[in-house]
Symmetry: C2
Subunit: 284 residues, 2 copies
């Protein structure tokens, strides 16, 4: 199963997220097999990350968007857990500070972009500016259309600097969200996170789906594709995201830099005693 191709929103083809089955598992129902595959992917990610870090030439940007309780935190915990924290950074975007709000909407996002050799995960992103702001009518018409163009141009400049971009919409059903909110009610450790607005915001569900449709259709480009991840089943969601990340990292084909030293010479210069001892031992 090539998740990369299957779940990608192809440029030019219109997607309607309302028609996508959020409970899809693509046949991955054997939990043991799935966990083994996740384990393999985690190992491979770590190897590839080492090379990206060493190469210090390319970078990877992973964007996570979802409705509340859609699994952004869970995805970071389970899939990206595999990464070495050196060279991997998670960046969340909350309500803009006064300084941030006094700039254009891409200012704080650009500042947080990955540098060479780095992997950055955006927990929410610049897309909030065409999702929540659109849904609540803070932006519309020409100015909204312009934002999609700005976003595409912004992502293109990152790409031109050798940043691979993967954008995931973790797609759950409205019922699944209510169920997950309910689970939080059952867990005292999570009560501090819950607010009344979690529930009132559900009234805008359909508007959000439309906003996602427009964002995905306008901004899934060749160089910065969107993926729609059926996410009612958490383990399938983790699998699909990790498969796509591994695939993208393989495509980056990072190379270790050439050594600057002559290994044989270093051995000769600094390990003569040790070498002498070794060969003395062998002779015995």
């Amino acid at each position: 199963m090539n998740f990369y191709d299957k779940l990608r929103v192809k440029p030019g083809k219109k997607v309607d997220v309302r028609k996508i089955d959020t409970s899809e598992t693509c046949g991955w129902n054997d939990r043991e097999k799935l966990d083994a595959r996740l384990e393999e992917n985690a190992k491979r990610m770590l190897e590839l990350q080492y090379r990206i870090y060493a190469e210090n030439r390319q970078s990877l940007l992973i964007v996570l968007q979802a409705m509340d309780a859609g699994g952004k935190d869970g995805t970071i915990n389970h899939v990206l857990y595999a990464m070495n924290p050196q060279g991997c950074r998670s960046q969340s975007f909350k309500v803009p500070t006064p300084l941030e709000a006094s700039h254009d909407f891409l200012w704080r996002v650009h500042a947080a972009a990955p540098k060479n050799g780095e992997i950055v995960i955006f927990n929410r992103s610049h897309y909030e500016s065409v999702l929540v702001e659109k849904v609540h009518g803070f932006i519309s018409g020409k100015r909204l259309q312009q934002r999609y163009d700005f976003i595409n141009s912004f992502e293109e400049i990152l790409h031109s600097n050798r940043t691979t971009i993967l954008k995931f919409f973790l797609h759950i059903s409205k019922e699944e969200q209510l169920k997950r909110f309910g689970e939080r009610l059952d867990d005292e450790e999570k009560h501090w996170k819950i607010s009344e607005s979690d529930y009132t915001e559900r009234e805008y569900w359909d508007d959000y789906m439309e906003a996602f449709n427009e964002a995905l259709n306008r901004c899934s480009t060749k160089h910065a594709p969107w993926f729609v991840i059926p996410s009612d089943h958490k383990s399938f969601r983790n699998l699909a995201v990790s498969e796509i990340i591994v695939e993208a990292m393989e495509r980056m084909a990072p190379k270790l830099p050439a050594p600057t030293i002559d290994v044989a010479q270093i051995r000769e210069l600094y390990y003569q005693d040790a070498n002498a001892k070794k060969s003395a031992k062998k002779k015995k």
Copy 2:
């Protein structure tokens, strides 16, 4: 064994790192027992990190310093791996950029300090300015003495903003370093990392030990203690560091924020149908 007290450089007491046995294991020679303990600590760290993040009031700064191959990367990999990348960030300090070099030596360090709720690991730190720069004579006399004072004052301001500071000197012997450099020669994946200067820098070993002595004695304060970690044995090093971090996180005693909602009311409002179904089921 309370590693926090045993390995801490007590303010006012002079330490001489040359007299500390780098191969010490404090009796932890049973690998299985040690691994089990590391596992426990990792779990506890994750729990406490969740609370620190949720509380959003305190922060933790972990400073790692060591001679080359002393185990900074390894410590981050093995011990801090336990952390959730959300709310935990690893920051390394390399040769200053032109912009950084045009500021005072604490400028870039201050900018990288943890915010409320965050855990930050410094891979190298402001101490490079009183270690490598002292050893190579870029700084000395009055200006050097002033730097220690600036450092203490800087760490005090972080502490005053509820940052807990832990500074680890991962202490290996000169022979252990040569051995580890040798292992890199045996691993092609690591050849790109090796430079001739790794070896030539060894001529300054004694000067480095003196510089560490002075830094530790001048800057191990009540609020920003230094710990000397015997690090020839990697698993003991990991254990000691994790024990001290867990102890410090326990002392922070982070509290979950109080809920802003009335859980019973939310259940009443949004889960009536589900509740009705449940009680209907029970009646059957």
